[in-house]
């Protein structure tokens, strides 16, 4: 029961924060709502025995990505943008489309039938702690994607520098 109360709290806040984040006229407000959203999602992850991901969520998403957003917003000094309409004229169609997708998604997930259970049951994870379990998986089975991810980050660095550096002109 207590689980459910917490779930409802978190999910209600998550939904509300998401909505707030995307409807704010001021970008800065949106980003701040996002921060709240990320914290609540991190909290939800704790319920799902995903401490490591929860931590990453807070550190990377909230701590790094959102801060990056804030930097950029302040860098660009986007005050005058507030005066304009925040939604495009075709927003009702967007609403219909996203509602349609939502409906399809919800209907398809009335009952979730999952595949076979895997090796890492709660007991198993608890026996080695979650971080060790993730770490082992990541550095053995998922070593190759891990390396690729490094390339992705490298490309991101190169790209960001190439695009944003002040050379030419």
């Amino acid at each position: 029961m207590i689980n459910k109360i917490f779930f409802f709290y978190f999910s209600a806040v998550i939904v509300a924060m998401s909505l707030m984040a995307i409807t704010r006229r001021n970008v800065m407000h949106g980003v701040l709502y996002m921060l709240l959203l990320f914290f609540h999602i991190a909290g939800l992850y704790l319920f799902l025995n995903a401490e490591f991901i929860s931590a990453v969520q807070v550190i990377v998403y909230a701590g790094a990505i959102m801060v990056l957003f804030l930097f950029v917003i302040m860098l660009l000094n986007l005050r005058e943008d507030i005066l304009k309409k925040q939604f495009i004229g075709t927003w009702p169609m967007g609403l219909v489309a996203s509602a349609g997708i939502l409906m399809v998604l919800l209907l398809s997930m009335l009952t979730v039938k999952t595949g076979e259970k895997g090796f890492w049951g709660i007991a198993q994870i608890e026996s080695v702690t979650q971080t060790v379990a993730i770490g082992t998986t990541l550095y053995t089975q998922y070593l190759f994607p891990f390396e690729v991810a490094s390339l992705v980050l490298l490309v991101a660095i190169i790209g960001a520098i190439v695009l944003a550096k002040k050379r030419l002109k």
Binding site: M93, A97, I101, V104
Partner: protein, 646 residues
Amino acid sequence: MDIIHYILIPVLPLTAFVLNIVLGKFIFKKQAHLIAIAAVGISLALSIKAFMEASAGVVINQDLYTWIASGTFKVSVGFLVDQLTAVMLIVVTSVSFLVHVYSIGYMHGDAGYPRFFSFLSLFTFSMLMLVMSNNFLQLYFGWEAVGLCSYFLIGFWYEKKTAADAAKKAFIVNRFGDFGFGLGVILIFLNFGTLHYTDIFKDLGVIAAQTVMICGNEINLTTLIALLLFCGAVGKSAQLPLHVWLPDAMEGPTPVSALIHAATMVTAGVFLVARANPIFSMSPVAMDVVALTGGITAIFAATIALVQNDIKRVVAYSTVSQLGYMFVACGVGAFSAGIFHLYTHAFFKACLFLCAGSVMHAMGGELDVQKMGGLKKYMPITYWTMFIASLSIAGVPGLAGFFSKDEILWKALSSHSPVGKFVWIIGVITALLTAFYSFRVLFLAFHGTFRGTEEQKHHLHESPSAMTIPLMVLSVGAVVAGYVGVPHILGGHDWIGGFLGHVVGHAPVHAGAEASLEWPAMILSVIVAVVGIAAAAFFYLKRPELPQKIADSFKPIYRLLFNKYYVDEIYGFLIVKPCYWVSANVLDKITDKVFIEGIVNGVPMIVEWSGQKLRKIQTGVVLHYSLAMAIGVFLLAVLVIFGAGK
């Protein structure tokens, strides 16, 4: 006679044609006639020889080579020289020869002198191929080839629009006839599996009772074939309703009119009917159609000839009328009489044309008899030869025309069918009219006072000997040619009838030999001839002012006749104009440009239009792009969930 000699008859003129057309301009120039005359002269000699052989009973039927072969369809180029062909050979080569000679004088100084002679040679070749053929397809070849030459020669002075028009008209009107002829030939092939005369006539009995359904009517196959063949004859021999080309054809040089449009080509229709006489004989309906067509054409053309002022046109209508006579003969089964008339007609009609040419020559191209008069003293040879020819055509006893025309009238009268009697009446009336208009022209042109310009009067002269000699030869022919067919009651033997009888058979009326009818018929025709001539003399010699008065008092009839019953105008209104109108306004403008092109150009236009519309969706705003993606996801989901997959 060796086969090679027979081959040479048509080949020599062909050679002359090729030499003249290719080299004429460069080498022969003014001497173009030499080679042509030499060729046709030798052909004439060979033809006479062939005639001798034929009269000795030798019939040549020889294939030279296979022309077209496809499956069971096999046609050869080959020669059949029998009595009928022999007569035609004589007619063709002799008239052709004389016209060649005449042309030396007539065409002297013309820019197209070599061209003229080359076409004459080509015509001779074609006509010979036509008459010497031993099958229908080669006949068809000659048939079309003479049409072609006719086209060339009518349009010889092509700078003149009327000449060019007339040439085209002649060819196209003939094509209408040939359309039927061609179908007839195909039908013959389909039923007999061959186109050779002998084979077909041998098997005629096989199809005697066959019928075909056409538009729900059952028609006897023989009748159908005969009528289709007759279509061709109607076209070529200028019978109703396809006669319209012949008067116009007078735009050609006069020797051409004499050769092609009087003596030879136009008689090809008669030849065809005579050649196919076994087929025609089997079909009473077809025979009646032939007789009626001939009879009606005869009187129809004769009435028009009464009021025409153009000397050549009068002669042309007279030709149409006389050709009608020949068909009357064929229609009543007297094929030999038809051919006989063809033969005599060749002489007197060629003579008439050449006389007309001679007059034109003297008058500087003037054709209107109203502007002539009193030419007798300037050109006596022409006058007398024309006089003889006119007597002959009028049917004055003792001359060629009398014998042949009389034979026809008698055969018609003695025919058992009511059609025969009917056409006899028409024939007699036509004879009266013929005598009248022939002498009308003669009197108007040669008697009285000259009504032309002073300048013309100054130039009046008799034609050179190259022209007069053929005239004289032909006028002699117009007198004596008939003596090969003197009827029995006049103590003759009807030699030509017997001679041709080998080919065309003896018409059924012969059996009865209703000689009782022959005397009255003959006397009646003599009377009408004399009456006709006398009337002409009365109107145009005694009381020259009368014709005008009569014309005025019968104005509608006069105008109807003068305008040739408005046949040309009716055709123009019913056929020619609608054709062009449909072509220009319906097919070209509507079907092609609107319907078909509408679709052809419309589809790309629709595609382009929808492209332009679709372009509007590509707004450049990325939100719309993502919206499209979102909608796409949704629709794909819907498609898969509710679509064909499940």
